[in-house]
């Protein structure tokens, strides 16, 4: 009840990497590459090469993404298990990037809502350089997107059934990239009382 900080993901041994999935547009015929490995000092290293050359399939016009996403937690008998972050209100990361902008995507449970491509996203601007970056993003800042498109009808992310968290690079800058993550955690910031950062306008207003 009074828990204020919790480390959700850390990278101490190879088994910790097993709970992450790495993918890139290579799966749809693109030329990006992405790899995940353990760093030297209990960190994870997500690196590769981004290429925005579209696949030669005649229909895809844009391409160029690399992503790492946590796998769905499973309980016994392959039942889905969710993260319950309701007592927290801020995502706390310790990362060391290369100056590129990343997108953090949090996936909540959507089985009953029939909206399985809904994601709650926010940006992560990394500084290049040798110094670590402590990033604190309130969950109220995450906006709803569906298949990558920001939705009109926004609502805040509910933290009672979080399934996955992911980092995506798609800044259209071809070349190598790297992101080193020390830990991913959640914390409760009592000074942050905002419920949702975005205005929701009334659709079909009375005239």
């Amino acid at each position: 009840m009074l828990e204020q900080n919790r480390v959700v993901f850390e990278f101490r041994n190879p088994e910790d990497l097993e709970s992450w999935t790495v993918s890139s547009d290579r799966e749809i015929g693109g030329q990006s590459e992405a790899y995940l490995k353990l760093g030297k000092y209990n960190t994870c290293f997500f690196y590769g090469t981004l290429s925005s050359a579209p696949p030669k399939d005649g229909e895809t016009r844009y391409s160029g993404y690399c992503t790492m996403r946590s796998k769905q937690m499973l309980a016994s008998f392959d039942r889905k298990q969710h993260y319950d972050w309701t007592t927290f209100n801020t995502l706390h990361l310790r990362v060391r990037g290369d100056g590129r902008p990343w997108m953090i995507s949090v996936g909540a449970e959507t089985y009953f809502a029939h909206q399985k491509d809904d994601m709650y996203c926010y940006f992560l601007y990394t500084r290049g350089g040798p110094y670590w970056q402590d990033v604190k993003i309130p969950f109220s800042k995450f906006f709803l997107s569906h298949r990558g498109r920001i939705q009109d009808d926004q609502h805040p992310l509910w933290l009672d059934k979080v399934n996955t968290i992911g980092f995506t690079l798609g800044d259209k800058a071809n070349g190598p990239f790297q992101l080193e993550i020390d830990y991913i955690g959640v914390c409760k910031d009592y000074a942050h009382t905002e419920e949702f950062a975005y205005e929701v306008y009334k659709r079909n207003p009375e005239v």
């Binding site: 309701t86 009953f112 009808d153 509910w158 009672d160 409760k188 009592y190 009382t193």
Partner: protein, 348 residues
Amino acid sequence: MNPIVSCTLLITLGLGTTITFASSHWFLAWMGLEINTLAILPLMAQYHHPRATEATLKYFLTQATAASTLLFATTTNAWLNGQWDIQHMTHPLPITLFTIALALKIGLAPPTIWLPEVLQGLDLITGLIMSTWQKLAPFALLLQIYPANSTLLIMLGLTSTLIGGWGGLNQTQLRKILAYSSIAHLGWMILVLQFSPALTLLTLFMYIIMTFSTFLVFHLNNATNINTLATTWAKTPALTALTPLLLLSLGGLPPLSGFMPKWLILQELAKQDLALTATLAALTALLSLYFYLRLSYALALTMFPNNPTGTPPWRLQSPQIVYPLALSITATLTLLPLTPTITALMTP
């Protein structure tokens, strides 16, 4: 939601319950239950949020299952007994099926897994309607069914009090806590149903008053988890002083009103030579009391005497009408001395 649509749905909700109250034919009673279910579904899904959709879907599935089981029991009863009257049922098979169907409808354990999830996905006012109004029609039917299966009712009651107490221990979300509180209270109601239906009615009435107060207090403070409760002293200091008493009344502590039904139920169970059942029920009440006490602790015992470390919330004028809350809190806290009068009124 458009006010005309809201009005229509609320009136339909009332209509469904009234149809069930007024019916002596099982088919009409079933129709009333279905109207109730269908009317509340748009109210649950009005906020375009995946959790609200999930709650609506889960509620629909469970209620549809219960209604179909009820209809099956109805037709079985008509086949075995040759009549559809609610009060003239003798065969144990349809009676058992009815009991199980209505237990699923109101959220008694064991088939109670849906209630916390559904309540969690709703806003506080819709949750209030679901916890109070939606219980009336099924109870109206349960009170009329001849209790042929005594063991089933006692097992349902004890399991509900146990699961209601245990399940609420690990929760920080207030709506889930109130769901488990609801399960536990329903358990107490069912325990005494076969011995004294009037006591079941009294317990239901007291539960509705207490839950009404609790939901409205949380709605006034816009509180949905325990952390938010901890800052309500800055918003509504007088109400924050009363809310722990309200929660302890829910927990059944004397000298508050919530003690009355528990006391009378334990007395009735002891009269029926069910001392073990009474003891188990009393012990499971301690589990529920723990999480009520935890809420009271977060509300009233975690105030800083000097500047708080967090930002205190703005004290804004709430648009909520508070007179119903004032009345219900008064009833929640002060009805215990009326026990002799109520007992006298209950005995025929």
